[in-house]
Amino acid sequence: MADIVLFVVFPYAAVIVAVVMSVYRYLDQRFTYSSLSSQLLENGMLSWASVAWHYSIVVILLAHLLAALFPGVWAALLGGGARLALIEATGMGLGLIAVLSMALFIWRRLANRRVRAVTSWGDWVLLVALLAQVVMGFIVAFAYRWGGMWYLHTAAPWLESLVRLDPQIAAVTPLPWLVKLHFLGGFVLVALIPFTRLVHIVTIPIAYLWRPYRIVIWNRRRA
């Protein structure tokens, strides 16, 4: 029963909340539909944390997504000793980069008074949730290796069954609690999207890739 609530009811609730409230926020407070950047307040630490975080987390999320969408290709890719270890180690390395950069994000908001002044409770919740999720992700990957492979027949069919509206949880219930917590953490983050600056992930700024560059020029020396 608890498993039904955690792995069927909660994911659906999280997705519905995310969709409905994101639409509502778009209609009601469209101006807040952004990452609410604090780059102008502090850019030194941010550029280290932000670049490292975004490149690593995008690759990691893509791996989670592509493995669920094309399990056959993924299984063929990981099949056979050396390639498996290489790809898994790459993922774990990126995971560690994500952990480090998220820690730096948090340190920056604690240490810099100007940034701390504009930090809301929602920001703290989000930062801690993201740090917890990437730390758990790394531990799961390391302690229960080879997640890249067992994901294909545990989480992937579960997610697919949720999408098909025919929830099947038999494949995820026997997993260790830390793995389950990581699954749930994913849906907690989905539910946080409309309430935090995480909403900027649906503003996917891919136009950056081809728009002309801009140069910021200051008229006076910065303090």
Partner: protein
Amino acid sequence: MLIRWLTATLLVTGLLLLGTAYWVQAAPPGQSAEEGEALFQQYCAGCHTVGGGDLSGPDLLGVADRRDRDWLEHWLAEPDTMIAEGDPIALQLLAQYNNVPMPNQHLSLSEIDALLAYLGAPESAHPAEPAQGAALAGNAEAGKDLFTGAQAFANGGTACIACHDTAALGAPGGGLLGPDLTQAAQRYGGEAGLTGVLGTIAFPSMVPIYQNRPLAPQEQVDLAAFLASSAGEAAPSRGVRHATLYLLAFGAMDVFLVGLFIWHRRLPRAGRRLSARR
């Protein structure tokens, strides 16, 4: 008007829910020996035969006469609890069969009734069916490729390496979600026993994966041969396995960190050029 609509909707949904619950509860009880035979093939045949001799578990021919029904019902329902509570027969069986405990298959009461009907029926004393794998020869090399996923299973099951380790693999080895299989051949009655176990995979966490993706007979014997090749060796050291992976993971992190530093050192220089031009 609105209130009447709401009440009606609630009533209908409530009735629907109740109806579904009743329909699910009232599934016909399966007690026939035929259903029992199907259940036996699904859950038990990996380790047991009826009249075909011992595998990793005892031959169950005449078991309904050997033990009383209450004990059998209890044993089928929760063998793990009975062993934990120190039931004398359970402990004796455990010791007799190489300390391989019977897994709890979470059978329902009606499934247990059906199984007992099958085991108690005289016609269930089938002559020993030759084990499927007996005619096939296992190839340890092919088994290794199946284990590591270099060769995919015909029916699409997960490669064993995802969750299992064995000394027959080099570092960093196999997965850790499931038990180490270095001594699987000893535990499950040699290659023949292993082939049986792999033929009807009954371990609860594996059932959802392999139920609809059974291993082909040739795959079973190849894997059994591969697993038997490490018999007698010690299980690989967890420490060495972890250390190897630790080096790989942190090595990858270092590569990315170096990349990040290179990327960052370029940025300020470009910035300096721009400001100098100004």
